[in-house]
């Protein structure tokens, strides 16, 4: 069993701290170079402000990057080292203290990976899959084990690490994370599950890399949460997905951070010829979220279905920017985002279907529906199309509306309390997107989480 030693590097994002971080990681030289280049970009790039179109609706003035520091470095050792605040050590991988994620309830898993403040806490992959060449472990450890595969990936990353200051910071300082590799033709018929926890005041710089070989199939469920639901924290992450030719990936990403967490993420998937991706985002937590979720269809016949389930309350600000990029002909993309808002929360969705000149016979669809539960919320829903090909079918739609008083009265006349009625109406609102999610534990987790959040409605 491996114990962890911690070096606290809580001096903010200074060059000295970065040097110490690099030194603690003992990584191959090519990776150190990649990190240094990204660090330079991070230092040169200002924090985005509202003069940029993409940040126009997202106010970062209360964000203090200096209040956080680099991820704590984890080192392998065999001594009786200080275990710090990282209590998740059991060999069965099932005991990040008492924490059980929402998505793993009553689900038989092929593997489970837990991280805590960007450090790997436990990692399990059942033997059957290991023997078939499946890799499911922390990205940290995978760098050592699968260097060739990852070097190729890192030198041509899926996410643009120059996209903004956060993308660069992440590329320089990622830690922990998840690596999933499914060899060609292998079908992992049980879900792989990752659970990432964040402690008060800490950071999560986890990076997820998922690679499916030709004809491979897998289901990956990822979930993030805070130890203390009100405590501050910083997540600066990236998700990179490669769906090979004819491969099929179902990916679910539930962000359930506490309401003190700043959540910045760049997420992008490449889908090759005849590959299929179903990507579901559940967004419940965080104080402020700015997420770019991009899907690129790069081979003929590729398909992507993108689902979003958002619920905001309090003073949460969640901003999701989606791109369905059709780069090849005969591809299909279908996006459905649904959000419900209460209190003084603010939800932004800005979607784009981009069709390149050669992407003829594109079938693109995007839709965003929002349900307003109180008069003090704000919702921005901005669909967009950029089409350079001339033989395509692209449509979009967006609606925002209140819960109808007549619906509430009708349900009350059948013996439901007002609250029960509103919960039922909200659940019904999300049903259309739940109907698309074929994984029962995901539907249940999202349904329960939303149901318990709905209060009164006026």
């Amino acid at each position: 069993m491996i114990a962890m030693t911690e070096t606290i590097l809580q001096s903010g994002f200074t060059p000295e701290a970065f040097e110490a971080f690099l030194a603690s990681r003992r990584e191959p030289a090519w990776l150190t170079l990649v990190r240094k280049e990204a660090w330079d970009a991070f230092e040169e790039t200002p924090l985005p402000d509202r003069s940029l179109e993409e940040w126009r609706r997202t106010d970062l003035r209360l964000f203090r990057l200096g209040a956080f520091g680099l991820p704590r470095a984890a080192q392998s050792s065999h001594g009786s080292a200080d275990q710090g605040s990282c209590p998740a050590k059991a060999a069965d991988g099932r005991s990040i203290t008492a924490a059980e994620g929402l998505l793993e309830r009553n689900v038989e898993l092929a593997g489970r990976l837990a991280t805590w403040d960007s450090q790997t806490a436990s990692s399990v992959l059942h033997e059957e899959w290991r023997e078939k060449g499946v890799v499911f472990e922390s990205l940290d450890s995978a760098i050592g084990q699968h260097e060739a595969l990852l070097r190729e990936h890192f030198l041509k990353p899926v996410v643009d690490w120059r996209a903004d200051k956060f993308a660069s910071l992440h590329a320089a300082c990622w830690s922990g994370g998840t690596f999933v590799y499914v060899p060609p033709g292998v079908n992992v018929n049980l879900p792989l599950y990752t659970f990432s926890l964040l402690s008060p005041g800490q950071v999560d710089f986890g990076r997820t890399v998922i690679i499916l070989g030709e004809g491979a199939e897998a289901t990956v469920l990822s979930e993030t949460a805070s130890v203390d639901p009100g405590a501050p924290g910083l997540h600066c992450g990236a998700i990179e997905i490669r769906v090979g030719p004819n491969a099929r990936l179902r990916y679910v990403n539930l962000q359930n951070w506490g309401t003190g967490v700043w959540h910045f993420a760049h997420q992008r998937a490449l889908v090759e010829r005849d590959g299929q991706l179903q990507w579901t985002i559940g967004a419940l937590g965080s104080r402020l979220a700015k997420v770019n979720q991009h899907v690129a269809l790069i081979g003929p016949g590729a398909e992507a279905q993108v689902n979003g389930v958002m619920f905001t309350e309090g003073k949460q600000h969640l901003s999701y920017h989606t791109l369905q990029h059709h780069q090849a002909p005969h591809c299909k993309s279908d996006l459905l985002y649904k959000g419900a808002l209460q209190d003084k929360s603010h939800l932004v969705w800005r979607g784009m279907i981009r069709v390149d000149r050669d992407a003829q016979k594109t079938d693109g669809y995007q839709r965003n529906d929002n349900l307003i539960l109180s008069d003090t919320v704000r919702v921005d829903s901005i669909p967009g199309l950029e089409i350079l090909a001339d033989d395509v079918k692209c449509t979009h739609g967006a609606t925002s509306g209140r819960v109808d008083d007549e619906q509430i009265f009708y349900a009350r006349a059948r013996g439901l309390t007002r609250k029960e009625a509103v919960r039922m109406i909200v659940a019904g609102f999300f049903q259309q997107v739940f109907d698309r999610i074929t994984i029962e534990s995901v539907r249940e987790a999202l349904g329960d989480a939303i149901g318990s959040r709905v209060r009164e409605c006026h």
Binding site: D404, D405, E406, Q407, F409, Y410, A411, R412, A413, R414, G415, L416, T417, R418, K419, E420, R423, M424, I425, A427, G428, F429, F430, Q431, Q432
Partner: protein
């Protein structure tokens, strides 16, 4: 003691405008009453006000169920006391399956003290019951899986209201134009269905323009509403007369109420 729904001197306004102007009506359990009258006379207002629709303000009068003041209760509490309104225009709730909606409703009404989150009627038990009722009402099983009133035809909506009544088994039910928008055969089926689900054990107020709905549910009393008041009460023969001859005789007899009724109908139409 016979169970009674008693409406006394009921005055109701909508957006400050008086609609009901002193309605008196007493229904005992086991009785069927027909309520007729031209558009704008206040029939639907009576049903919605008794059920507790927030837009309908009671400015005077009382409604009591077995001596208990219904007006002091929330709509869901009235429903749990055994009151049912079959809506003239049922409301769609997209994404909520009829079976789930009714299971919640039935759990609350059969266990009036149920708090939210407490147990519902077991799924299997309820499904079985629902299936039997649907068979009795000659409804397709598919109905239970459809979303509440979502994309229903006029006839389907009205039949769904009868199904809900059959499941919830109220003490008192108000059927607000459960025949409107239906063809003759559909009205006959509705009439028959209402009788089959045990209307005789309830106290029922049937609001209708036509007598077909009364075919299988012969009323002991027929009331005529005009200008927000019940101006005449008779036996079943009055319903037949009104259906055949219209309201001219009553308009002539109650010109002031007829004028008030016409003004409201015009306001609604405008």
């Amino acid at each position: 003691m016979t169970e009674t729904l008693a409406i006394r001197d009921l005055h109701v306004s909508v957006a400050g405008k008086p609609i009901l102007r002193g309605v008196n009506l007493e229904i005992r359990r086991g009785e069927i009453h027909a309520l007729m009258g031209p558009n704008g006379s206040g029939k639907s207002t009576l049903g919605l006000a008794i059920m507790g629709h927030p837009a309908y303000e009671v400015t005077q009068g009382t409604v009591e169920l077995n001596g208990e003041d219904l007006l002091a209760l929330e709509p869901h509490e009235r429903a749990r006391r055994g009151l049912f309104l079959a809506f003239q225009r049922p409301v769609a709730i997209p994404g909520v399956k009829m079976a789930d909606f009714l299971r919640h409703a039935a759990s609350n009404i059969r266990n009036p003290d149920r708090k939210e989150g407490e147990e519902l009627i077991p799924m299997r038990l309820f499904r079985k019951e629902l299936k039997e009722k649907m068979r009795q009402l000659r409804m397709d099983e598919e109905f239970a899986r459809r979303y509440v009133n979502d994309g229903f035809s006029g006839g389907e909506m009205k039949r769904a209201e009868i199904l809900q009544m059959a499941i919830l088994r109220p003490k008192f039910a108000i059927l607000d134009e459960t025949d409107s928008g239906l063809d003759v055969d559909a009205v006959r089926l509705a009439s028959q269905s209402i009788a089959e689900i045990g209307a005789r054990e309830m106290g029922i107020l049937i609001i209708t323009h036509h007598e077909q709905l009364l075919e299988h549910n012969r009323p002991q009393y027929t009331h005529v509403m005009l200008g927000g008041r019940i101006v005449e009460t008779g036996g079943p023969e009055l319903a037949v007369e009104l259906h055949k001859q219209g309201y001219d005789r009553l308009r002539a007899a109650y010109p002031e109420a007829a004028a008030a009724s016409d003004a409201l109908a015009a306001a609604v139409a405008g």
